[in-house]
Symmetry: C2
Subunit: 130 residues, 2 copies
DNA sequence: CTGAATCCCAAATGATACTG
DNA sequence: CAGTATCATTTGGGATTCAG
């Protein structure tokens, strides 16, 4: 008998919510990073170099810029190309998979721009009620 | 003169990336939480009680379930209704704003289910190359 | 210019016990 | 049942320094 019990309150198998197996949890763990989407958005404008990205994001450290780009490269969302100039330059760009992801994120991003004021208002109301 | 300088590499004003003012960063800080989207997805099935949500998510603690629900309520995405039965029962449900957010997230969620295997493959390839 | 390595702090999360 | 309170732990991220 399978160990994928079905939750009585929902229709889900436990497998579908398993942190290791649930694609939503895995993808969101990446995309939910503090800098991930910001960098992906910038790269939608075309390939950019390391420091150009750094300058565009005022409050990111080199450490996190490097690390986030590495993670994105590892996931196949961003490509990294080194030009052996002197000094060296490195260009980052969205891969087709990355472009596709950003297309899929369009709805969420639009929602954020058009509805965040409602969220802000809700917060103010909530915080105002003792 | 305004302090909203324009980045030379992109067309953005610094205001648009200001962590406090950028809706995308604000919304993602919430949605990117470890449990947020999971709970919102469950509530798409209809209103549910505290422990039903807890049972459906195998590895969440009561502490984080409470906190995430509070944050969602504060943001106007989830409603909370207390029934003074004995013992008490509390029902959580998506608000219209929450329903709307989940609609906007549809593209991303679909992408996760259909493309995560590609991400996994990319990871394996990346990790295999020394 | 593009990182890697290290140290360190703050925040997020988990574990457990207690309560109306 | 639906939390709260407290403590312990893990993780994310910043600052700094060094290197090809």
């Amino acid at each position: 008998m399978p160990d994928t019990a079905i939750d009585p309150d929902f229709g889900f198998t436990s497998d579908e919510l398993d942190p290791e197996k649930c694609p939503v949890r895995q993808v969101l763990a990446q995309v939910g990073g503090k800098w991930t989407v910001l960098i992906l958005e910038l790269l939608q404008h075309g390939p950019r170099r390391f420091n150009a990205l750094g300058r565009a994001i005022p409050d990111i450290s080199k450490r996190m810029l490097t690390q986030t780009l590495r993670d994105l490269e590892r996931d196949g969302l961003v490509s990294r190309e080194v030009f052996p100039t002197k000094p060296p330059s490195v260009q980052y760009a969205l891969t087709p998979l990355g472009v596709d992801l950003m297309k899929a994120m369009g709805g969420l991003l639009d929602w954020a721009w058009t509805n965040f004021d409602k969220v802000k208002t809700a917060r103010d109301v909530y915080d105002a009620t003792p």
